[in-house]
């Protein structure tokens, strides 16, 4: 029986939205306050949803401890209390929350059994969030 299991994690990180291909004025127009030179930070919430059959033996889709370990080793250890702009994934890619969401999805997809990762949602603040799945 297919069901979904979701878990939320928090990472605190800094970033600056700035595209090298745009002029200073264009960056300012495009990113506004997010382009301020010294960056700023957020408490991001990363919500991970896995899909699968509920095991009759355990009543679980995935053991939460195992999921926590994957998310810790692949995502939170990497991004928590870090400057996203300095991560190799964001050297040539602006660390918008859209791109952070895709990066988290890619980091987890390889580490979870095939088909288990359903969706990743990243909340930058209480009022904005981004989601991605396999599409």
């Amino acid at each position: 029986m297919k069901a979904f299991f979701g878990r939320r994690y928090t990472i605190s990180a800094s970033h600056r939205l700035h595209a090298d291909t745009l002029s200073a004025d264009e960056n300012r127009t495009t990113y506004g306050k997010c382009n301020n030179p010294h960056g700023h930070g957020h408490n991001y919430v990363v919500e991970v949803v896995v899909a699968g059959a509920v095991s009759p033996e355990t009543g679980m889709i995935i053991n939460m401890v195992a999921l926590d370990e994957v998310v810790r080793s692949r995502v939170t250890d990497r991004f928590d209390h870090a400057n996203l702009n300095l991560d190799p994934l964001f050297v040539n890619r602006v660390p918008t929350t859209e791109n952070l969401c895709r990066a988290v999805y890619a980091l987890l997809k390889d580490a979870l059994p095939a088909g288990e990762l359903e969706r990743v949602r990243v909340e930058e603040t209480e009022n904005n969030f981004f989601e991605c799945d396999s599409e």
């Binding site: 069901a3 979904f4 299991f5 979701g6 878990r7 939320r8 509920v54 355990t58 009543g59």
Partner: protein
């Protein structure tokens, strides 16, 4: 198609235990949740129905009716109960958040079907603000 969701809360206790396993294996797999004295949560139940707004009322379903079936079909059985010891569905299955979501669907689906309008689309159960399970009626 409109998806309409109503949320409610219930408080219940449970523990995780597979009687086919040794105590050691239960403790290894389920950790603190295997403590046989049980523990409790404030669960949040979110029920989503899908349908078209009625041309006269503008409602997909009457939210008062949805509240009433959530109370009569689910909360009356589970709220302030020990899920393992007092509910028929968890006499045989482990009351994980996944199984609670499936069981809530099974309790609600007949009432939603009988009403003949919107379809039950999704049931989501939060065990804590950071943990939820969802069931969409899929096999």
């Amino acid at each position: 198609m409109i998806y309409l969701t109503r949320r409610t809360t219930f408080s219940a206790s449970h523990y995780y235990w597979n009687p086919a396993w040794t105590a050691e294996k239960n403790e290894q797999v389920f950790g603190r949740c295997a403590n046989r004295n049980g523990h409790g949560h404030n669960y949040t139940l979110e029920v989503t129905v899908a349908g078209e707004p009625d041309p006269i009322t503008g409602f997909v379903v009457n939210l008062k009716w949805l509240k009433e079936i959530m109370e009569s079909d689910v909360l009356a059985a589970w709220d302030h109960r020990h899920l393992n010891l007092e509910t028929p569905e968890f006499a045989l299955s482990i009351p994980t958040t996944e199984n609670i979501a499936i069981a809530a669907w099974k309790r609600l689906e007949p009432s939603v079907s009988a009403a003949g309008g919107a379809k039950l689309s999704r049931v989501r159960v939060y065990e804590t603000p950071d943990i939820f399970a969802e069931y969409r009626g899929e096999p």
